[in-house]
Structures are given as C-alpha cells and as structure tokens.
C-alpha cells in the first residue's frame, strides 16, 4: 500500500510535467542543500555562544525514592555526569556535574549521553575550574530540526501554495514582532493592535489567494466579521465586568494591564478563524457565479448556508483543541495535587475557553456576513462585465 502510495506521488510530481522537469529538479536540489546546510549549522553552533556548553559523555546513576506529601513514593535518580566543554577558552576540558531528576520530570532534566547543557563554571584565582553547575539544556537545535521538517513538508505537499503560506506566515511574524516592540512603549496598545490586525488581514488574504475580487470580498467580510464579533465580546465583557475570568496566569508575566492584552489576543485569535471562513465561502460563491452567472440569489444563499453548516462545527472544534491543549500539563499537575474541579476550571481554563468561544462565535457570525458581502461584491462584477 505504501509502495503504491509512493508511486502515486512520484507519478504526480515528476512524470506529468516533463517540460518543468529540469527546472523543478534544480529547485528541489537547492532546497535540500539549503536545509542540509541549515541542519549542519544548528548542530554545530556552540562557538556562537558566550556561555560555556558541555556535552554529556558519561553518566553514573544512583536510584532512590522520595516520600511525597500524599504518602506516595516518587522514584528519583541522582546523576553523576562527566561532560566535555564544547566552546570558549576551556574547550576540550572535562568537568564533573551533578544532576537530580525525578520520574515526573516536571521541572528537572533527565539527562542522556550526548545531551548538551549550559554550564555555570566557578574558577579559582589561578583561573582553574573548581566546579561547574548545569543551568539549562541546549534546545535550539531541536527547534531548528522541527522547523526544517515543517518547511520541507509544506514545500513538498503544497509546492507553490505551500511557499505562499510560508511567506504569509513570515510576513505575519514580522508584523507581530514590530507590534510587540511598539508595546514596550506602553501606550496606545489598542491603536497599534488595530493597525496590526488590518495589516494581518489584508496581507494574509492577498498572499494566500491573490489579488482579485474574491480576495477583496474576503477582506471586507473578515473586517466586518471581526468587528462584529469583537463588539459582541466587548459588550458581554463590559456588562459582566470580567466575571469568572481569572488573569493570574497572565499577571505572573505582565506589567501591562492584562485585560487590555487579553482583549488584543482575542482579536488576533479570532481574525485568523474568520479569515478562513471568509475565504472558503467567498471562493464557493465565486465558483457558483462562474458556473452560472445568472444564478438566483436564493440558490446562492441556500448553497452557502449548506457550506457554512458543513464547516462551522469542525472549525469551532479546531479552535477548542488548539487552545485547550496548552493547558493539559497544568491541569494534570493540579489534578494530581488534589485541587477541586471548579478551582482548576476557573484558574486554568477560563482564559482559554473564552478565546475558543469568542473565536467560535466569530466563525458562526462570519458565515452570513461573508455570504451577503460576497453576493454584493461578486455579483456586481458579473453585471459590469456583461
């Protein structure tokens, strides 16, 4: 089965387009070379760090148990480690390290041979190493690997459209970073975010589906849809004075007002989902007009409602799982610590649930909004051309 699958892909990729064959091959070779260079660089970049990095070469483990508060036994390992320093003036020297790890590994590291760790080294007056301590694990190479796999996959499967998605993601990351840099000044947070959201919407839709009437109607629909859903969310929040929403999770990190930041996060999270709906429905309506320019308004409304019903459930599902998955670790930690459901619910899930619900409301609302806007914009075109 896998064999015939590979054959299928090969057939589609290569045999169908002999003319593009050489050009394509060259592009692919270039991409593969680039990603290999990238992989080589990220696995050998220790020299760029100022902090000393050690590579684990030997581990001696001593196992024991620790009694926990709820009278359970937690397996503990004490690791005596030898590591070679990979960079700086001490390059090549071996240091001895101590490390303790538990079975749960909630906030400790279970080190393995050839893991790389950041060290903090104590010297004596003669500049000889007295002792060394592990401060953290070196993780950048794994981020590099996974990004590499992602980029390769999206180009292989999506080809040109995959490349467009990559470009749109990169542009959006840039806008996002500029927005965060502006936040540092601490004022006009809302204004900056609204401008950034406008850019997000216009650029993403233009990059993903090109410059045409369909994109134009999707942009207008997304703008209106986002505005209406944020209006609803804003009114609900204002009337109920943030009741039932706990910001402890955010306050730990923020000096800025968490309410404002959370509302901005709601806008950004919602506009992505609305964009998806707006593009799907306006493409479908354009398709209907293309097949039959004189199609009745009623028929269009009926079909696009059906499409909307098809997608809204699964889209809302997507948001709920994407948002809630991040809280699983903390919920399990709290469950194991014997906290009550109601506490866990309000402490850990209130923010994520609000995001998912506001996003879902946006999805559902944008279905009729996109429908009417697309009919208005796309129908005019047909009349004008005829």
């Amino acid at each position: 089965m896998i064999n015939s699958f590979v054959k299928d892909i090969l057939n589609v990729r290569w045999l169908k387009s002999h003319t593009y064959h050489k050009k394509k091959l060259a592009i692919w070779l270039g991409i593969i070379m680039l990603s290999l260079c990238n992989l080589f660089f990220i696995s050998n970049n220790q020299g760029l760090y100022h902090k000393p990095i050690g590579k684990v070469i030997e581990i001696q483990e001593q196992k024991s148990y620790k009694d926990t508060m709820d009278r359970q036994k937690e397996p503990i390992k004490i690791q005596k480690i030898k590591a070679v320093i990979m960079n700086g003036t001490d390059k090549g020297k071996t240091v001895a390290l101590n490390n303790q790890t538990s079975f749960s590994q909630v906030n400790d590291l279970d080190l393995k041979i050839s893991d790389e760790v950041f060290l903090s080294i104590q010297y004596n007056v003669k500049h000889e190493i007295v002792s060394a301590m592990i401060t953290d694990l070196k993780r950048d190479q794994y981020i590099g690997y996974i990004i590499n796999i992602f980029v390769l996959f999206i180009l292989i499967v999506g080809e040109m459209k995959g490349f467009r998605s990559l470009v749109s993601v990169s542009v959006n990351v840039l806008i996002f970073l500029v927005l965060i840099a502006l936040f540092k000044k601490g004022n006009h947070l809302m204004l900056y975010s609204v401008i950034a959201s406008l850019l997000f919407i216009v650029l993403s839709i233009l990059i993903v589906s090109g410059k045409n009437k369909k994109s134009f109607s999707a942009i207008v629909a997304t703008l209106v849809g986002t505005f209406v859903s944020m209006l609803i969310a804003g009114i609900v929040i204002k009337v109920n004075h943030w009741s039932g929403i706990h910001f402890e999770e955010m306050e730990e990190f923020l000096t800025l007002p968490p309410e404002t930041i959370f509302f901005i996060e709601l806008i950004i999270g919602t506009l992505g989902a609305i964009m998806d709906i707006a593009i799907s429905i306006s493409s479908a309506i354009e398709e209907l007009y293309n097949r039959n320019p004189n199609v009745e308004r009623k028929a269009i409304i009926k079909s696009s409602r059906e499409i909307g019903q098809d997608i809204m459930g699964t889209m809302a599902n997507t948001l709920i799982f994407a948002y809630l998955s991040g809280s699983i670790s903390s919920i399990i930690l709290l469950l194991r610590n014997g906290l009550e459901f109601s506490n866990i619910f309000s402490l850990n899930l209130s923010l994520e649930l609000t995001r998912a619900l506001v996003g879902s409301i946006g999805i559902v609302l944008s279905i009729p909004i996109t429908m009417y806007i697309s009919i208005l914009i796309l129908k005019n075109r047909k009349v004008g051309e005829a």
Binding site: L109, F118, F150, A181, G313, S329
Partner: protein, 255 residues
C-alpha cells in the same frame, strides 16, 4: 453573570439560528468533545499511560466529530482512517525529538506558579507533551480531512468514471487550497496564546540565545509547528485514502 456561560449561550443561539438542526448538533458535539478531553485528563491523572489514553481518546473524539457532525458515509470513514494514520505518524516523528528536547513540565520562569504544588506526582510529563501535541492538532486535522474528502466525494458524484489517479490529484489540489487558510487560522490562534509570553520576554533581560533555549519558549514553538506538520501530512493521506475508498466497489465491478 459568568462570561463563559454568557458566551456559551450566545454561541448556542447563533449556531441554531444560522446552522439549524446541524448547528445544534455541532454545538453539542463540541460540548461532548470537551467532556471527553476532560475525562482523558482525569484518566491520565489516575496514572494510566498518557500515550494510550491520548491515542484512544483522540480516536473517540474523531469518531464523534466525524460521524455526529457529518454523518456515516464513505467520506467520513476515509477521514477517520486518515486522521488515525496522521496521529500515528506525528507521534513517530515527534516522540524522539520532544523527549530529547525535554520541553515537558514547567520552566524556571513559571517557578512562582509551580511552587505551591508538589512536583513529584508519579506521572511522566515527557509523555504529557505528546498528549498536548496530539490534542492540539486533532481538531485541525479532522477539519482539513473532512473538507478534502467531502469535496472529493462531490467530484466523484458528478463524474463517476473518474480514475483513482485523477481523483487523487483533485484531492491534492483542494488540499493545497485548504492548507493556506488553515495555516492562517492556526497561526493566529497560536500567536494569540503566545502573546503574553512574548511581551514578557521582550521586556525582560533575556538575550536572544537565552530565549531560543528556554523551555517555555521552545515548547510553545515546538507544539505549534508539530500542529503545522499534522495539517500538511493529512492532505496527501486523505487524498489517497479517499480516492481508494470511493473507488473500491467500482473497481471490483470492472474486474
């Protein structure tokens, strides 16, 4: 009144007005999925192996979502098969990397929050990371998979003489269209959850190299990219499985 409750009621009203009976069905499937997810977490907290719970739980969630929202049909069966294949594949690809990157649990920046609780809980948090990754991408792959397989089904209905090859190709084309919008949806969803952390990091004294090795940063990036890998993988797999399944009977007739 509690905001979440108000929002839930608004969602129910909107879904029933705009979506009719299917909207109400979708709403209750969402609630059901949430309950299944919560049950999964309780089972994991009772020390049942997180990987097994996640795998079986995601199958049940996919089953409910696909069959309750979209009904029993060849296209939903094809989607279910593809979703299960992708869950297994993503597990294979990410298991080794996520355990070596040690992105489980909490980082030193979250020490304040964790300090109230015992961190020795006899549950391996390295496995919880896999659970988070798979749950995070589950909704997205179900969505992409059903969009592709139902469009392929429509194509097949209109042209029953279509070959498996052509059907696979049109499935891939639909998939590429979905890919662009879906990456946007997920990108903005993740960025919105990410924002607090990024603001914190940009104000704090950490250098760029510190940030790229920080547990909390790496685990967020890792999870969102794994989600992206999932939605890419589901496209060819759904196109292939659906094209096989839809043409299953006609093929045997021809022979």
């Amino acid at each position: 009144m509690n905001i979440i409750l108000v929002l839930l009621i608004i969602l129910l009203i909107l879904m029933s007005v705009i979506g009719g009976t299917r909207g109400i069905q979708s709403f209750f499937t969402l609630i059901l999925n949430f309950i299944i997810l919560f049950l999964m977490m309780i089972l994991i907290a009772f020390k049942i192996d997180p990987i097994k719970v996640t795998f079986i739980g995601s199958m049940i969630i996919s089953f409910c979502t696909l069959f309750f929202i979209n009904g029993y049909h060849k296209k939903t069966v094809a989607s279910l098969i593809s979703v299960i294949i992708v869950i297994l594949l993503v597990m294979l690809i990410t298991y080794h990397m996520s355990t070596s990157a040690k992105i489980q649990g909490f980082s030193s920046q979250q020490a304040d929050m964790v300090s109230f609780y015992s961190v020795y809980v006899q549950i391996n948090f390295a496995k919880i990371v896999i659970c988070e990754i798979l749950v995070g991408l589950l909704g997205a792959i179900i969505d992409v998979s059903i969009s592709i397989s139902s469009s392929m089904n429509e194509i097949y209905k209109n042209d029953s003489l279509i070959t498996q090859h052509e059907l696979f190709n049109s499935g891939m084309n639909i998939g590429k269209d979905v890919l662009g919008t879906m990456t946007n949806t997920l990108f903005f969803a993740y960025i919105s959850g990410f924002m607090t952390l990024i603001i914190y990091l940009s104000i704090s004294k950490y250098s760029l190299s510190d940030i790229f090795n920080m547990k909390i940063f790496c685990s967020e990036v890792f999870q969102s990219i794994c989600c992206g890998i999932g939605i890419i993988l589901i496209i060819p797999i759904t196109a292939f499985v659906t094209s096989k399944l839809l043409l299953l009977n006609t093929k045997s007739n021809n022979i």
